[in-house]
Symmetry: C2
Subunit: 351 residues, 2 copies
DNA sequence: ATGAAAGCGCTAACAG
DNA sequence: CTGTTAGCGCTTTCAT
């Protein structure tokens, strides 16, 4: 039993156990790790002592000795967003499956805090580091490049190339194309594109949108709307507000939104404008967060497979820890057809 | 610069720095920690060496030496649910504010895994442990009691009393009463109660419901519906299904749901049954997860203030780590009146 | 102001 | 099969 002296906790160590049953610490270590022969008799004695003292081996001390760590660090913008939460769920599943533990730090959407988080995790001697949606924009030149030299480094949805790092990326270009194609095939010609500011993810999608619409002779600058901060708890309401102004003017028959929050905002705007979804107007979101099938009509969207995104990242770190090479893996983005898309009202034949 | 030999990472230690500039490790330690005088000249030399070698102090080694830890462990059922994610957001904010780091482990709603997670965290020498919504039902008799002896232990929404632990609880009894009172004041008499299985949280709420309805002479066993697993990604659809069967028979004018997922399911069921919310029927949820204001009509619900729940728990561990006593704190549950509740259609005068 | 040395809890040779 | 010992990276007396 641990003794509590003046409020301080003092737990049994390997020495306590050894002394308790008159063997050496080496022997105790051996029965704990089952890696060298120990006579049945002493093994039992030692185990009894372990039980009695509630001895728990100190992993930190072991790792110090072994010169390797079994914890993985994760830097995430925050958990307020289901997207990140699900990614972490995936990381945790893979990581704990391989006997690693997960050290988590939130960057609060602040580049400075992101760096501080990464540094903190490194100092805590993580065996590898995963950074989700890194804020590379205002990034100190080779902050991560240095880091990659000392620790396996993986980015999830990091758009800037960092030397020495591995990447897990959702196939957003392909995904955007699929979504838009879906709308086109339904006969839609006036497709609005709703994006947010300050993320490479939006830029990638806009590029695809422009190319595709251009190719179809359908590009109309007025149809591209930037609603500002696209990833906060106000995104739904903000989008609703902005679209309620734009809908009457642009009269789209379909709306593509860069994430599901915006798409739900779009649903609200249509509802307020007395446009039935999907009868009068179709809406496609992106990400497939849980919210997408909680709303009504259920949202048609592109599944980023966040759990797999996280899971793959975890596998990549572990691979690198074991001496593997850097890799870049893409997770397929697939269309989830639900209730918010349908045939265009007055389908225009596609030439 | 760290050397990479046959794919293995080998980082600079305090010894490397000391050797590099011909001082003792003690001196290096002093300039790193700024806790003892060092001459300006050597300080500069040492700092230069630190920069050059990209030396990062090893927190694990320091903590081993100092015999104290600066990491907090958190056991959570999972992150698939926004409730838990927001609680962790709160914990992380408080914890990192106090220079602690967060070690996270998911219990996957499995009591055995929950114990494994807790053990794992303890072995990693956390300074304190927070368990969110512990699955105390099938709990090995004094698993946590033992644990509380060796490490500060905090439960968030833990209903079984464990000796030696601190508690942070949402005031669910009061919250349930507030929600029901709200409905009563709106003139509702036929109030349905929707709960899930296997959680003390449901039992607490049902108790309040029964008392209150009994007191009003309104209790009707038929109005209490248990929809089974109440906290999965299927909860919304399951609730919709079950209620679509019960609504026509019971004809409630209001529905109280034990969490927001169920409440959204109830909204769907009403919609399918052509009951306008809130004109024909009122719905109150519980928790106030983000979803609640993303749906339309926006959900009236009881705010559990998850962020504060987590924040308070973190403060409690830290308090205990510093030698404080065990405490039990309640976080107020407040009514958030939005769009899903309104005057009863044919208000019956309350006697 | 600086260095030498002990030791945190643990594991892995190396002897016996 | 078991014990002795060195040392992981670090901090902190205790000397100088």
């Amino acid at each position: 039993m641990a003794e509590k002296e003046n409020g301080a906790y003092r737990n049994a160590t390997i020495v306590d156990v050894a002394r308790k049953c008159g063997v050496s610490v080496a022997t105790v270590s051996r029965v704990v790790n089952r890696n060298y022969p120990v006579s049945e008799k002493t093994r039992l004695r030692v185990q009894a002592a372990i039980e009695e003292l509630h001895y728990v081996p100190n992993v930190q001390a072991r790792e110090l000795n072994l010169r390797h760590s079994t914890t993985i660090g994760v830097v995430v913008p925050g958990l307020y967003n289901m997207f990140f939460a699900e990614v972490i769920d995936g990381i945790e599943a893979a990581v704990s499956n391989d006997k690693y533990s997960l050290l988590l730090s939130c960057a609060r959407n602040d580049p400075a805090q992101e760096q501080a988080s990464a540094r903190e995790l490194i100092a805590r001697n993580v065996a590898g580091l995963i950074v989700i949606s890194p804020n590379t924009e205002m990034l100190e030149e080779d902050f991560y490049k240095q880091m990659a030299v000392r620790t396996p480094l993986i980015f999830i949805n990091g758009y800037r190339e960092i030397e020495g790092a591995s990447y897990v990326m959702g196939a957003e270009e392909a995904g955007t194309r699929i979504a838009l194609q879906h709308l086109l095939e339904l006969g839609h010609r006036r497709i609005m594109f709703v994006r947010g500011s300050h993320s490479d993810s939006y830029a990638v999608k806009e590029k695809v949108y422009r190319e595709l619409m251009q190719a179809e002779g359908l590009l109309d600058e007025q149809m591209i709307v930037d609603m500002g901060d696209g990833n906060t708890s106000d995104t739904v309401d903000d989008t609703e507000w902005i679209l309620s102004l734009r809908l009457p003017k642009q009269k789209p028959t379909a709306i593509f939104c860069c994430n599901d929050l915006m798409a739900v905002g779009a649903q609200h705007a249509c509802q307020k404008a007395n446009l039935a979804v999907p009868e009068d107007i179709s809406i496609v979101g992106y990400d497939n967060i849980a919210l997408a099938h909680f709303v009504s009509p259920k949202l048609t969207t592109i599944d980023q497979q966040m759990f797999r995104l996280g899971h793959a990242a975890a596998e990549l770190v572990i691979e690198k820890i074991r001496g593997g090479r850097n890799r870049r893996v893409e997770i397929e983005n697939v269309l989830v057809e639900r209730e918010s898309t349908g045939q265009a009202r007055c389908p225009v034949k596609r030439e």
